[in-house]
């Protein structure tokens, strides 16, 4: 079940009604409401495929047990052993389901050269495995580091792992953030409920009205890049940048909004990344929960920026490369990660830093945007050959046999999507940002809410497009 389906609307109404009714009926304990949310979350996941629930359960039990044993062990060796057990189980599951075939295919040429013929398996990728695996790993690592007390409540912990708003595509919520919220009794707040609803609505608009509309154009161009001229390909690449941002941030908004309506607070996952003035700034704004996870559990343990310049650059490259690989078992994702790693390393170069500091703000922004766009080409392309063709079209301006003006005329709804995209980014003053959130007490909020709801119903593309990050 995904957030853009009619079934989800009905599911959410039922969950909200029952949850708040249980909380009203049993005011002193969050237990009954949490149990219901846990069952609802497992149903939500089983809606995709009931077999996936087994993995969720294994991950939950292993990490709950491991954390309890880490916390109760006094021996450093035993603590490490239990942490290793948790890491191996989680990363083992992730590695098998996500990367087994990738590594087999990558190793096949070498294996065949020595007379072996490895075969791939038909493996169904469980939805959200990358997300909930990282989430549970952060829990056991934080317990190991003594930053967090091991949970004594299996129900709360199971809910932390399986909580449906963020289960399949994040945000990656830390246990330090969410577990205490589950153990507290939550009071209903109309203002918070309303805020959650508006955020859910905003997310749906981003995903359906903007991202999916842009995808109509982007998908066609990337399916046959060789037939399009330079201008067309530029439009498609910029369109993809819009698509992936609005798709993913839209999903995050919906997840955060649903959690808010249920009385929980999730961390922000995006802060207008296309307004970044440096690559480091970009990664402070894009998929924030992942980038902070990589920083806290990979970059800093590797040494972070505490060592020599060479070591810092090495750590950046390793972190970003693995971050790219996290997105998918494909060489294009690996290269995307390396690209961003190199961009961060190059940005730290002192000579280049002096040159950059002399640039005006728009020029700085443009360099960052170009770097990000070139990275998106890798991210979107199905293979390296397509990516190379795209780069050629973008920079070498090779004429194509097809009419280069073919894509210049875009249908009105796509133009509307692009307009919304530009307005949302360019008009981002503090005052306007508050207005765009349709505050509780604003006279225009009912009008705007009606317009958004009708727009979702009338102007969304026919035909369902899954969220981009569901494939990760």
């Amino acid at each position: 079940m995904n957030f853009a389906q009619a079934e989800f609307v009905i599911f959410l109404c039922v969950v909200l009604s029952v949850t708040w009714s249980l909380r009203a009926a049993v005011r002193r304990s969050p237990g009954p409401a949490n149990l219901f949310l846990l069952l609802a979350s497992y149903y939500f996941y089983a809606y995709w495929d009931y077999r996936f629930c087994g993995l969720l359960l294994i991950s939950t039990l292993v990490d709950y047990l491991a954390a309890r044993l880490i916390a109760s062990s006094t021996s450093a060796t035993r603590r490490k052993a239990w942490l290793a057990f948790s890491l191996m189980t989680n990363l083992g599951m992730l590695g098998f389901f996500k990367y087994f075939n990738f590594f087999i295919e990558s190793a096949t040429p070498l294996a065949q050269s020595i007379g072996m013929n490895p075969s791939t398996l038909v493996i169904i990728l469980p939805v959200g495995i990358s997300f909930f695996t990282f989430q549970t790993l952060s829990y056991t690592i934080d317990v190991y580091r003594r930053r967090l007390t091991a949970s004594q409540n299996l129900l709360d912990f199971a809910l932390y792992v399986a909580f449906f708003p963020q289960l399949v595509a994040g945000p990656i919520v830390r246990a330090t953030n969410l577990l205490p919220q589950f153990s507290n009794v939550t009071r209903f707040s109309r203002r918070r409920f309303y805020g959650g609803f508006q955020q859910l609505l905003r997310g749906a608009v981003k995903k359906v009205l903007i991202a999916d509309r842009l995808a109509e154009t982007v998908d066609v161009v990337f399916a046959d890049v060789g037939s399009y001229g330079s201008l067309t390909v530029w439009i498609a690449v910029i369109g993809y940048a819009g698509q992936i941002y609005y798709d993913f941030s839209g999903y995050s908004d919906m997840a955060i909004g649903v959690a808010k309506m249920l009385g929980f607070r999730f961390p922000v996952n995006f802060r207008h990344p296309y307004l970044a003035k440096s690559m480091a700034d970009f990664w402070h704004r894009w998929h924030i929960t992942l980038s902070t996870w990589l920083r806290d559990y990979l970059y800093i343990p590797l040494g972070g920026s505490r060592g020599t310049k060479w070591q810092t650059n090495r750590n950046l490259l390793i972190t970003m490369t693995l971050g790219g690989l996290w997105h998918g078992a494909a060489s294009t994702f690996l290269l995307w990660g390396i690209w961003h790693g190199l961009a961060l390393v190059i940005e730290r170069n002192e000579v280049l830093m002096r040159i950059r500091n002399r640039l005006a703000a728009p020029a700085k922004w443009l360099t960052v945007m170009l770097a990000v766009l070139m990275g998106w080409v890798l991210f979107r392309s199905p293979d390296i050959e397509t990516a190379m063709t795209v780069y050629q079209r973008l920079w070498l301006g090779l004429a194509s046999p097809a009419n280069p003006n073919l894509i210049v005329w875009l249908p009105p709804l796509t133009l509307l999507a692009i307009t919304l995209m530009i307005v949302e980014h360019a008009a981002w003053t503090t005052r306007l940002r508050r207005c765009m959130r349709l505050p509780w007490d604003a006279w225009y909020s009912p009008v705007a809410t009606a317009v958004l709801l009708w727009s979702l119903l009338l102007y969304s593309p026919r035909g369902f497009r899954p969220f981009v990050y569901f494939q990760f």
């Binding site: 079934e7 009931y50 161009v221 046999p401 009419n403 073919l406 009912p446 809410t449 009606a450 009708w454």
Partner: protein, 343 residues
């Protein structure tokens, strides 16, 4: 204005009700830019079928973005019955010939008139029509409108093949009841989106746990999918279909074949050769536009699609219509003296 935190609950409810209503009205007023027309059809005794009423401004808002004027007898884009003595050519086909994606002056009938200087083209093509629909309408339009010959734009062979098996009369539509006209189009569009899937099947919600198996239940409106008649050309040849077509009228018939074409393979050659020879036997002219469509694509002109990236798919555009009109103008000559007597 009173801040919301000082509003009584009833005032808050009133504010929201009025605001939602205002938003709805705003959407309703602006919706014609993005929402197509929904209209009932009315019985036309000349064509013996239900057609859009004369005077309707029919908006099309998905592929292409145009408004068509509906004329007498449901003619899409043509608002008059000609008074001149020029040869009258009845244009038939499905949505490819109807041309709602284009403005009236760029539709196929209008483009043909620019090429066929001595002819008046009357457009009777309607989305979803096939050969059974065309021959049912021949007698009425010939008598009432003094038609001199018929021109059929054939996009899919199945539209002609099905004539071999379908039983007549084969009345399609009425599409929508009359009370539809009283409901704003945007409400109808919303209802359609809620109740039907993108392939016009009734939307069925699934609450069972996955993995899901998908079963298609069949289309509601029949507008999208042509019925799949058995492939007559493979077994009995085209004789049955073509004979029925020939028996439908004594006037000259020209068939223009303009399918989606592939630049690399050609799987239809054998079937088309049989069709062409069968048509010749029945004295029906056949114009195969495939090669000219391929030539156009090779030279960078896309005859299908509407410049929003849908290369090679969708409906014929203005360039495609010019290609067809050019091909027709080289072959079709007004020849009222050469009508074929029926059996």
């Amino acid at each position: 204005m009173t801040p919301a935190n000082r509003l009584r609950p009833i005032d808050w409810i009133v504010r929201w009700c009025l605001g939602l209503l205002a938003g709805t009205i705003l959407v309703g007023v602006t919706s014609p830019v993005f929402v197509r027309t929904y209209a009932s059809r009315q019985w036309d005794p000349v064509r013996s079928r239900n057609v859009y009423p004369e005077g309707l401004e029919y908006r099309w808002r998905s592929e292409g973005h145009a408004t068509s004027s509906v004329g007498p007898h449901g003619m899409m884009g043509r608002t008059d019955v000609p008074l001149s003595t020029k040869t009258r050519l009845a244009l038939w086909g499905d949505s490819q010939a109807e041309g709602v994606c284009l403005s009236d002056e760029r539709k196929l009938w209008s483009t043909l008139q620019k090429y066929l200087l001595d002819a008046e083209v009357l457009p009777f093509a309607q989305s979803g029509d096939d050969a059974s629909d065309w021959i049912e309408q021949f007698p009425g339009v010939e008598e009432a409108l003094a038609i001199d010959s018929h021109l059929i734009l054939l996009h899919e062979l199945i539209d002609l093949e099905s004539l071999a098996t379908v039983s007549l009369p084969n009345r399609k539509s009425p599409a929508l009841p009359l009370w539809i006209d009283r409901i704003p189009d945007f409400l109808l569009e919303a209802g359609r989106r809620l109740l039907l899937t993108e392939s016009n099947e009734v939307r069925r919600l699934r609450f069972a746990i996955g993995p899901a198996s998908r079963v298609s239940k069949g289309s509601v409106t029949g507008e999208i999918d042509a019925c799949e008649a058995p492939n007559q050309s493979a077994t009995t040849g085209w004789s049955t279909s073509v004979e029925r077509l020939r028996r439908g009228t004594v006037l000259p018939i020209t068939i223009v074949y303009a399918p989606h074409v592939s630049l690399t393979d050609d799987t239809e050659s054998t079937s088309l050769q049989r069709l062409a020879s069968t048509l010749t036997e029945q004295k029906i002219q056949f114009i195969d536009c495939r090669e000219s469509l391929r030539q156009a694509i090779r030279s960078g002109i896309q005859p299908f699609g509407f410049h929003h990236g849908q290369i090679g798919s969708g409906h014929l555009n203005s360039d495609g219509y010019h290609l067809i009109a050019e091909a027709v103008s080289k072959v079709v000559v007004a020849r009222p003296s050469e009508s074929i007597t029926g059996n």
